[in-house]
Amino acid sequence: MAETKGSKKALQVSGEIFPMVKEYYLKAHEHKAQGKPVAWCGVAVPKELLLALDIYAMYPEHYSTICAIRKTAVEFCNYAEAAGYSRELCGYARTITGMVLGGEKAREIAPFGGMPDPDFLFITSCVCDTRLKWFEELQGHSGWPIQYLDFPEKLLSKGEAYATEAMNYYYRQLENLLSNLERQLGVKYDEAKLKAVMDRSWELRELELEILELRKAAPAPMTAADGFAVMFPRMYLSGTEKAVDFHRRMRDELKAKVGKGLGVLQNERFRLLWSGIPFWFNMGLINLFEDFGGVVVIDVTYTNFFRSERRYAEEPLKELAYRCTIGGLGITSLVDTNLFAAKEYKVDGAVLSFSSTCRPLYIDQLEVRNQLKEVYDIPSLLLESDMADERRYDAALVQANVNAFMEVLDQRLSHKK
């Protein structure tokens, strides 16, 4: 595979994603033009609250994947590096910081006309700490107001006493945030509105769990290529009727396929999991395994396999704090999540994409490899690149590694027979 390319999807609904994404970015400009507030947000912020406040949320991380796909990320990274940001920093951060620092020149090539300037930046330390620094720096360059949401780590290992305090801390921060936004932007908090959004978000979560069950079928009815594509409504449109409707139809399509025994490959020889952020500029890599009879049946990194234990349906702000802390955690360790997925989805091998500038998510990757081998004797393929900056991608090396890995799986299959 000499060139990078987009992925092939197995589901019809996946074809709706690009128009959905495009519409989302174009509507952002309309929203801004109408004088309505726009926020640039980290991916794990409580989006339902923004939706209830009619604040249009833009997600720089997602936008940088668009830049990677549209091949503008490298130029934006160059602007960031020229300003003194190390090439070892997160590819998303360099892309977006570079786009901001690149000014008009960057805006000319930015996909969808770029993201409208925000009324505020909104970032949480959930997922990684470095995003706090990233946004802090963005604020320093731009002067845009910023709201932080501190997320205490490893709550499952800390015990109930601390976890409850952490949830209360998060709740106090939400109250403070509301008060700041009401004062600065004139938005009004409507509890009934948030409740409706949280109800839809809960329904979406239930549908997601159904879908995860259906994905266990053999042959696999969809691949991680679909998984990464359909992430958009789940991650970024949570709480909207659009996201619920999409997932209903996705669930129905999967049900129909599974009912008829239809899979991505009828002769599915190997089931693989994908752990890690994909290389957005070359999503076609996921389909490469199909040439060998392998299907990437599940993508682990952005998937939450567990349901929240409870709701606080009549107290939507409290429910939000609960879901964002204790309730949304499931297995928090990347190692344990991969072990869980490997068993549940009966995988034969793991593809561990290793993004060299995303240390928080990848520090555990070698242990994921080690534990999959030690616990389940599952071999792993480590593929290294950056998630947005394709200068680090070596196509020939990747192809060679994939070939060698699939040979290993083939030999193991032969021995089993």
Partner: protein
Amino acid sequence: MLEHFADYYRDRHQRTREWKQKTGRKVVGYFCSNVPEEIIHAAGALPVRVTGSLEPITRADTYLQTNVCPFARSCFDLALRGGYDYLDGMVIPHTCDIITHLYDIWKRRVPLSYIYFLNLPHLVNESSMDLFCKELGLFRQSMEEWTAKKITDEVLARSVVLYNENRILLRELSDRRKTSPPALGGADFLEVSLASAVMPKEDHNTLLRQELAKKPTPSTANGGRPRLLLSGSMIDNTDLPRLIESCGVDLVSDDLCTGSRYYWDLTDPSKGLLEGLAHRYLGKVPCARTVSSEERVRRILEMQDRYEVNGVIVYAILFCDPHLYEYPLLKKRLEEAGVPVLFLEGDYILAAKGQLKTRIEAFVETIVGGWR
């Protein structure tokens, strides 16, 4: 007298083993300067800051990629090789992503009877102080359960006094660099500070008092050399400070987590025991991991004023995200305040000493040139 500090630090692992054998007490390792050692000390254990080594990595490669902080890899490698076999427990704080994630790997691969994840907020405000104070309460409780011994307020208060004394004495020693030429070298001072983080505080205080009782030895160096401040991420040996000083400068101050960020701020006992500790450890001179880069600049400028600093060298270890993110605006703000800045990136073991020296010398030339 300073060689006592240097000797102890050089032989710290063996000296800690000897201490443990002699006292029969426990040793608790910790990362970073944000762990309230006073609580460990009050529990009767010796807190020892975990540092790396300059030996090649041999075991850690199986568990940690090469593009992860080389300091963290070195520490973990040393532990896997048995270099920390004297540790009974470990406290790993939520400081940067790498140290945070090291918790799970360390727990799995370097089994200890006690390992505690200390959650440290990123924000510094009333609400985060309240949470951190509650966390310290749980930490104290966990140490009590592990040692099967209550940590009374009285004992904890005594530990607070002891540690504050150490900080006051270190500040006093640091201030010997206010003169021109300074009565104490920067690398020598760093060695004293490094020793503080691994020695019993009582012994370190005794040595400090003895050193401070002596009249400062006049420096043989000429006055009027450029006076620099070294800022940055983890430096746990004196190679870089000595390299800097070999370029004809005086290293008179620092913004390092093994230097002033470790000892400068005192605990205010009037706030209450745990509240005082929470305020001290969360509100102290910030590391880049804390959301307060403007505060960090303010503190550096305070040091610049106190020690009459002519320039700042900012040093980041490869792959150190917090410091690498913060650097461009840190440089801009310092330069706007009239402070020349040199950025150096190193691999922790300083493999490229020659290149670093060339760049430092060129920087010194620009400072001296600015005077002419």
